[in-house]
């Protein structure tokens, strides 16, 4: 995906507009050609074909069927698609409705309303296969997992249904057609030949994807070629059915020579061979777009089974064939760079393969090899026999046909290609030629891919982050249940306890809810800034809103959405926000800069089928950077047309946008603000009583006292709850001897005292005598100098004088220094670093009055 961004890909229409709508000024097309500039490959996708569409997650593109292609007045290319949902796209709670395991290759015919079925053409990645299956059918085993999907059910957002017969047949049809262009010329083909072929395709459907693809195409080509009389028309038709232009080219060249029916079929076999390569080629090119290293991986799996398979089934004479086909197989991988050229290179090579194969084996049908190469080892004999019989009928014509066609193709291919052809197979045949036994040949064929793998940049197999789900060990004993009323109350009063409702924040709740709901319904994006001092329930309210919205979405009152939360405090660096968001959205783990680009792409491109994302950014102020690019990006995304992103930003200060944000950031944040006022004492009272919820543990007055105290100080609900909890503890402690009682004023008072009392005075009173004298000396020195700062030397003189008055032994300087540092450690004093010794400056950390008050009582 990332390299894809770099390599330019050109999307162009295939053919002329089929129809146009004057009013809407749209032109409809039959197909689209995707041309990658770097690999110089072209893929043509037609209506009715199945495609992969770029999604949020690069590893999991969406699956869809192409229904319509048109260009609007503004020259924008659009496509209308029928979606298929992957299992991952279905909400987890609905997955269990299926009551069975779902393989990742199974998709569901999507009938969810609300998904935008219109996408930009640029998001199409490549074509794929979707095969309908009946409910009872097992998913066939395949070799190529990337390419094929199966559909059994339809999914309408609530329930799974079996595919309706007409959908089923339509899908089947779409598969068969391949090209999707209905061919009127089918009648030309003798039915006895077509039907086995069809049968074959069906039997192959299960086992392999690529061959099927190929065969389907062949079929259409087949029919097309037959109907062709006029060259141009024919070639055009041809192109409809053929994926790559190279193949088309060759067919064009072939076409004049063919007239008998049988030869066509022979030609098809040839086609089959080189389409094998073609089938690899698109794969290659698409893989190319992703990463070069994938080519090796993608390509290699079918190779190995094939080689072993064939070495078993073929005779020793088949070695030629194997050798050649080895080269066929290998070249694509070798020459990933120019897959289009490679496609051509293969043509002449193929011919000898099939040629020699036929000459040597006659009816032994080495032509099968392309098939068998894909099919797994469990291929039934019956099918082989079937294919043999087909081929037998064609066989007569094979030889001359091949010769002629090979000649023509030879002549057509340019010289440089020819030389390429000559040298590459040479090299490779040499390697396999040394081996004479099937065993060793297999070895060589297994070996070569390894070699090619080495040449390509080693696949840095994106090590899937080991989801080591760390866990705190379980406790050995169950947590004890609260026994008394007080314990129960304490439990309910803990901040972490989730209350049933959020009292006193109904208005704010409603505002936020309405905001998000309206954005959800509109399918647009937006920002909201929520401010308030700590402990006023900002985060709790937002979470509650999300919870309610989720509930509503589940009940289908709202379109579904996904919510992501990040917390500035839990990030080590503002840029880590990108990483977190991306990971929460798609599960990818990348670096910060890469994540930023991915996210920007995600939110700025018209994403099909994307749910609205609700992003909660807690502790926004910590995402501040000097250039503010993190905040800028965050607030820029919702303004993008297609982003469907709703941001709820939470921070403490009301004027944060004005204070720390640049104008451009603040303007993007918008004016939707909400501020959470500190709780009043009535609200706090209500919160406590709603939490206690009819547990009789507190006196009414006690609650009121707490709430008034807290409301006067900060209005922090957390503080309020903490005081109440502490009060229950004190109460418990006090009442242990007597009967259990409820929390009274006295307990609350004690708790408040404990929490808010400043310990300075206490600390001074408990200081040693000389420490107190020292403080007195400081006061005296301050008074003398009139400055609230003194050096130790000055204080020392005062100290000595005071000691003389008291009749005490005066301490040495070292002792004074020790006293000073002790007081400094307690932060009763503020002191400089001690290397200044006598000239160290000293300052009081508390007011002089406090010190006097504390010392006077002595």
């Amino acid at each position: 995906m990332n390299t894809r961004q770099q390599s330019k890909i050109i999307y162009s229409w295939y053919g002329k507009p089929v129809s146009s709508d004057r009013k809407l000024r749209t032109f409809q097309y039959k197909g689209i050609i995707i041309q990658s500039e770097r690999s110089r490959t072209e893929t043509c996708i037609q209506l009715g074909e199945f495609i992969l569409v770029e999604g949020e997650n690069a590893d999991q593109p969406f699956v869809a069927q192409l229904l319509d292609l048109y260009e609007d007045g503004a020259q924008q290319k659009h496509a209308v698609v029928q979606w298929f949902s992957r299992i991952a796209e279905i909400p987890p709670n609905k997955r269990k409705l299926l009551k069975r395991e779902v393989s990742p290759q199974e998709v569901f015919f999507d009938q969810v309303v609300g998904y935008d079925s219109e996408i930009a053409v640029e998001t199409i990645i490549k074509s794929t296969m979707v095969i309908p299956l009946h409910l009872g059918e097992e998913l066939p085993i395949t070799l190529n997992k990337e390419q094929t999907f199966y559909v059994k059910h339809s999914w309408d957002g609530k329930t799974f249904k079996a595919l309706s017969p007409d959908t089923f047949s339509r899908l089947k049809e779409a598969n068969k057609k391949g090209g999707g262009i209905p061919n009127s010329s089918n009648s030309f083909i003798p039915s006895d030949i077509v039907s086995p072929l069809k049968k074959e395709t069906e039997s192959l459907v299960g086992s392999a994807t690529k061959p099927k693809n190929v065969e389907l195409e062949i079929e259409s080509k087949h029919s097309a070629s037959k109907s062709s009389l006029a060259k141009e028309r024919h070639s055009q038709r041809m192109a409809n059915g053929i994926k790559t232009p190279t193949a088309r080219k060759k067919l064009q060249l072939n076409s004049p020579t063919r007239s008998p029916k049988g030869r066509f079929l022979g030609c098809e076999v040839l086609e089959l061979l080189d389409d094998d390569c073609d089938a690899v080629a698109p794969l290659e090119s698409s893989a190319m777009k992703r990463k070069v290293k994938f080519t090796g991986i993608l390509g290699s799996p079918p190779k190995i089974p094939h080689a072993s398979d064939r070495s078993k089934s073929t005779f020793d004479t088949a070695e030629h064939c194997q050798r050649f086909s080895d080269t066929i197989l290998l070249t694509p991988y070798r020459k990933v760079k120019d897959s289009s050229e490679k496609g051509k290179n293969l043509n002449p090579k193929d011919d000898p393969v099939s040629l020699t194969g036929h000459q040597d084996l006659g009816s032994q049908s080495p032509v099968l090899t392309p098939h068998s190469r894909r099919t797994c080892a469990q291929k039934t004999k019956a099918r082989i026999a079937e294919q043999i019989s087909i081929l037998n009928t064609l066989e007569l014509n094979h030889e001359e046909d091949f010769l002629s066609s090979s000649d023509s193709s030879y002549s057509s291919s340019s010289e440089e290609e020819e030389s390429d052809v000559l040298c590459t197979p040479e090299k490779k045949t040499r390697s396999s030629r040394t081996s004479s036994t099937p065993k060793s040949s297999r070895k060589s064929s297994v070996h070569t891919p390894a070699k090619t793998l080495k040449k390509t940049p080693l696949p840095g197999t994106p090590k899937t982050p080991r989801n080591a789900t760390p866990e705190i060990p379980r406790r050995n004993h169950a947590a004890r249940k609260p026994a008394s009323i007080l314990e129960e109350a304490r439990l309910r009063l803990h901040v972490s306890a989730v209350p049933e409702s959020l009292p006193c924040r109904e208005e704010e709740f409603q505002d936020i809810y309405n905001f998000v709901e309206s954005k959800l319904l509109d399918g647009t994006g937006g920002c909201m800034y929520i401010s308030g001092v700590p402990g006023t329930g900002k985060t709790a309210t937002v979470h509650e809103v999300i919870r309610c919205l989720k509930q509503a979405a589940e009940n289908d009152e709202l379109p579904s959405f996904q919510s992501v939360e990040i917390n500035g405090m839990k990030l080590t660096d503002p840029h880590q926000a990108y990483v977190q968001i991306l990971e929460l959205l798609t599960g990818q783990k990348v670096t910060a800069t890469h994540a930023a680009t991915l996210l920007a792409k995600l939110f700025s491109t018209p994403g099909p089928k994307r749910k609205t994302t609700v992003l909660i950014v807690d502790e926004l102020d910590l995402l501040w950077t000097r250039k503010q690019n993190v905040m800028y990006n965050l607030f820029d995304w919702p303004t993008q047309k297609h982003s469907k992103l709703i941001i709820l930003a939470i921070a403490n200060t009301m004027d944060l946008p004005e204070r720390i944000m640049m104008n451009r950031v603040a303007s993007r944040l918008g004016l939707t603000r909400m501020s959470f006022q500190p709780y009043t004492y009535k609200q706090l009272q209500q919160i406590i009583s709603s939490r206690l919820n009819s547990i009789k543990a507190f006196e009414e007055d006690a609650i009121q006292l707490v709430s008034r105290k807290v409301a006067a100080l900060s209005g922090d609900a957390r503080r309020c709850l903490d005081i109440c909890r502490r009060a229950t503890e004190i109460c418990e402690l006090a009442s242990q001897k007597r009967t259990p009682e409820i929390v009274r004023m006295a307990h609350v008072m004690e708790a408040i005292e404990e929490m808010f009392s400043s310990a300075y005075v206490n600390a001074i009173r408990n200081a040693s005598w000389h420490e107190q004298i020292f403080l007195k000396a400081i006061l005296a020195e301050f008074r003398r100098a009139g400055v609230e700062e003194a050096t130790v030397q000055q204080v020392y003189h005062q100290h000595v004088a005071l000691c003389r008055i008291e009749g005490m032994q005066s301490p040495t300087i070292s002792e004074i220094m020790a006293i000073c540092s002790r007081l400094g450690a307690c932060r009763l004093l503020l002191v400089e670093s001690s290397d200044k010794y006598l000239h160290m400056r000293v300052r009081l950390n508390i007011s002089q009055d406090d010190v006097m008050y504390a010392l006077k009582d002595e």
């Binding site: 379980r474 406790r475 803990h494 901040v495 990030l571 300087i813 010794y837």
Partner: protein, 402 residues
């Protein structure tokens, strides 16, 4: 206080309740001792022992190196992971970034819930040093966990700073439960004396019983001795920190040998003297006469200019005046020699330059300050052996030679 802490921890372990608390008290007031005692008692309860996970972090080890300021939390996180024995889950996975690390740990702690997972006890020694970490990320996260329905966590911070709460960031502060346990050395002298006795007495399980008896009697005797009491009173006035008492007793007990089996009052006095000596005055004792003279010259300069800084040239001039007057008793040193002596004083840090030596300023004119008080100088002179009387007179008054 002890009960409070014990109850708190018990609730965490038994009920799975999350808490946070700070133990605040001056140095040597027994914060760590209290905590260790509580933990010891907790561990004796079987149920607790099997349940509790402890994580000890000391602020010192994560902020001693200034250069690594930013990575402090990172180190701390690694330590937490290690102490929670989570690395067996991680296996050989090398922790990449700080961010990953944090995410990992948060994930781990989020996994648990109140009733099922093992409570974790975080003990943050030198809590004030964690406050200086960037953004207070670690504290925020720890407190946040303790305030949400995740793995039960109790965070205990130990600090000696009274103003610790003001250092917390407002969000962190809001999440902290404001449970503060203050420890003060609130005992009076009688208790102090008892502590002294207890510290010095041999325990009952001492193998040689007769010796223990003798020793303890001696200790009892010592505690009733007037001079010893006076000495202890002084120390008590000076500081209530029990560590200083330990130090003093240690010095005294070190004198005990086979031939001198019991500590005497004299031993204690000796130790006390050692303990209370002024370090700078001690240094002055070891100076040469010339250096003493320079110190005296500087003292006079200080007197004349009221603490204004001086330079070597001024000191040299002052010294020259003295020499010219009393040339008969002092050898007239060359200027470079005097300079050398001055530099020696500089190295002993009896004199401190106001600014770094630079190329622009000649050494003679570098401004200096004397790091000695007049009293110290006079005391040192009293004790100085073989001090010429002239020098002593000069020290007493700068005008005496007139």
């Amino acid at each position: 206080r002890y009960r409070h802490l014990l109850e708190l921890l018990k609730r965490t372990t038994v009920h799975g309740e999350s808490n946070s608390a700070l133990v605040i008290g001056p140095r040597g007031s027994g914060k760590t001792a209290l905590l260790n005692h509580v933990l010891k008692e907790l561990r004796e309860m079987k149920q607790v022992r099997e349940n509790l996970l402890e994580v000890h972090l000391n602020g010192k080890s994560y902020s001693s190196i200034q250069m690594l300021r930013d990575t402090n939390d990172k180190v701390a996180l690694k330590e937490i992971t290690r102490q929670l024995h989570l690395e067996n889950v991680v296996g050989d996975k090398v922790f990449g970034s700080f961010a990953e690390n944090l995410a990992f740990l948060l994930e781990a702690l989020r996994k648990g819930d109140r009733s099922s997972s093992c409570p974790v006890l975080f003990i943050l020694d030198e809590f004030d040093l964690f406050v200086h970490h960037k953004n207070q990320t670690l504290l925020y996260n720890l407190f946040d966990i303790s305030q949400s329905a995740q793995t039960p966590v109790t965070v205990i911070g130990l600090t000696c700073r009274q103003d610790i709460l003001e250092l917390l960031e407002k969000r962190v502060k809001s999440r902290f439960s404001h449970r503060q346990i203050y420890l003060m050395n609130s005992f009076d002298f009688k208790q102090y004396l008892r502590i002294f006795k207890e510290q010095l007495s041999l325990p009952a399980e001492f193998p040689d019983e007769s010796f223990a008896q003798k020793w303890n009697n001696n200790v009892q005797h010592l505690s009733e001795d007037k001079t010893v009491q006076d000495m202890l009173q002084n120390l008590f006035h000076y500081t209530k920190d029990l560590r200083s008492l330990h130090l003093l007793l240690m010095l005294a007990v070190c004198n005990v040998t086979v031939h001198h089996p019991l500590i005497t009052a004299a031993d204690l006095h000796e130790a006390n003297k050692q303990y209370r000596t002024d370090s700078k005055a001690n240094i002055v004792h070891g100076l040469s006469v010339l250096e003493i003279c320079l110190v005296i010259a500087m003292k006079h300069l200080n007197d004349v200019y009221e603490g204004e800084p001086f330079n070597f040239q001024m000191v040299y001039n002052e010294f020259q005046k003295f020499i010219q007057r009393k040339a008969h008793c002092m050898y007239n040193f060359e200027k470079p020699v005097v300079m050398k002596a001055f530099e020696h004083l500089l190295q002993l840090e009896l004199v401190k330059p106001l600014e770094r030596p630079s190329v622009r300023v000649q050494r003679e004119y570098l401004l200096m300050k004397l790091l000695l008080d007049n009293n110290q100088i006079m005391d040192a002179l009293q004790a100085y052996p073989n001090c010429p009387t002239d020098v002593k007179q000069w020290a007493a008054s700068s005008l005496s030679w007139l």
